[in-house]
Structures are given as C-alpha cells and as structure tokens.
Amino acid sequence: MANPVSTSASSRTSEGICNIGPRIAIRGNITGEEDLVIEGRVEGSVSISGHLVVAPGAIVEADIEVDTVDVHGQVDGDIVATTAITLHESARVGGNLRAPRVVLSDGAQFKGSVEMDVQLPGGLNRQTRR
C-alpha cells in the first residue's frame, strides 16, 4: 500500500469539512479523528474523536462515540461523548446518552436514558436511586 492512510493532521484541514451527503448510505463502521457531518444514512457504528454533526434529515442507526455531537436528525443508537451532547429541535433520538454535559432543546424528541455526572447536594447521595 503506497499511501499511509491514517491521519495526518496536516491533510485533515485541507479538505475542509468531512461530509457524508444526503444521498449517501453507509453500512459499516466509521472511525476517524476529524470533524464529521452526516447528512445521509449510516448504519453500523461511528467513532470519531472530533465533532460530529447529524444534520436534519440524516438517519444514523449506529452507536456513536465522539467528543461532541450536535444532533439535528435522527439517531437510533447510544451516544457516548467525552464532552457534550446537544439535541436540537429537530432531533429524534432513541438510545442512551452518556456525556458530562447533555443539552436537550425544546422540540427534541428523545427516548432513552441520560447519564451525566450529577453532583447532588451533600447528604442526598445516599438516597439516590441510581
């Protein structure tokens, strides 16, 4: 193989946004280290160490692991983020969210569990159910 594939930070910026268009369907695993915008359909898994945007109209049936994600479309699968998860108004998410910060905008539809670090005032932890 002539060309080393992985990552080169330098070439990363040269192409601009990495984008999966609305009429593309990917079935499989996506991994990478740069920001990604999904406008089409992805089935499988997504593991990006960067910022992921699920555009309105996108359908992602995959478990997602990212640093940050902005969801405007549909996601069926768990989302794990190291920084923040934001569900915007047009988001339709079914799955579990796990991140230090989760923001659910009004209008977003979500079904599943949310796990953030919750610091309860002292003395309450014993009563915490979870």
Binding site: V5, S8, G32
Partner: protein, 104 residues
C-alpha cells in the same frame, strides 16, 4: 449536487451507497456503489469493490472498479484490480495492475 467528502483521518469499514459525488481522502474498506462520481484523492485508500458512474483515482484502490461512464487513473495513483468501463484513461505515471475491460 451535494458532495460527500470522506476526510483523511476517517476510516469507513462497510458499504457506501448513494447518488451523489463522493470524494475519498481517507480509507474505505468494503464496497462503494455510487451512481455519480467517485474521486479517490491522493492519500485516499480504497480497498473495496467500486461501482460508480465516473471514477477518478489519484490515490490507491485495491479492488475491482466498474464505471458506467469513464474511469480515469491519474499520475501517481495505484490501482490493483480489474477495471471495467466504456472509457478509460490511464495517465503516465499511474501504476496499474489488473485487467481492463472496455466492453461496456
């Protein structure tokens, strides 16, 4: 027409199908079936069976290519696999190993 760009640090393992232009800077393993244009940029690696309308290769492709319109191998590209297209262009400097079928 929207363009799908697969960045250089992205690795996709699976199938890609669609009707728009696809530009690969990263790695794709599996299968690609795009009805429009596929461009494998320099630095891109495709280990897949490719079907598209037009395919332009600047990077590396390991796998069979089937283009319904045209296949173009630019300088410094590397292709290992069979090519089937009505029109083929292999530029000087390209590295190619495989069969060519222009029967359409």
């Amino acid at each position: 027409m929207a363009t799908t760009v697969i960045g250089s640090s992205i690795v996709i393992d699976g199938e890609i199908s669609g009707e728009e232009q696809l530009i690969v800077h990263g790695t794709v393993k599996g299968r690609i079936a795009v009805s429009d244009t596929l461009v494998v940029e320099n630095g891109g690696l495709v280990e897949a069976t490719v079907e598209s309308g037009t395919i332009t290769v600047n990077g590396t492709v390991h796998g069979d290519i089937a283009a319904s319109e045209r296949a173009e191998l630019r300088p410094n590209c590397t292709v290992v696999g069979d090519i089937r297209a009505p029109r083929i262009l292999i530029a000087d400097g390209a590295s190619f190993k495989g069969n060519v079928d222009m029967g359409g």
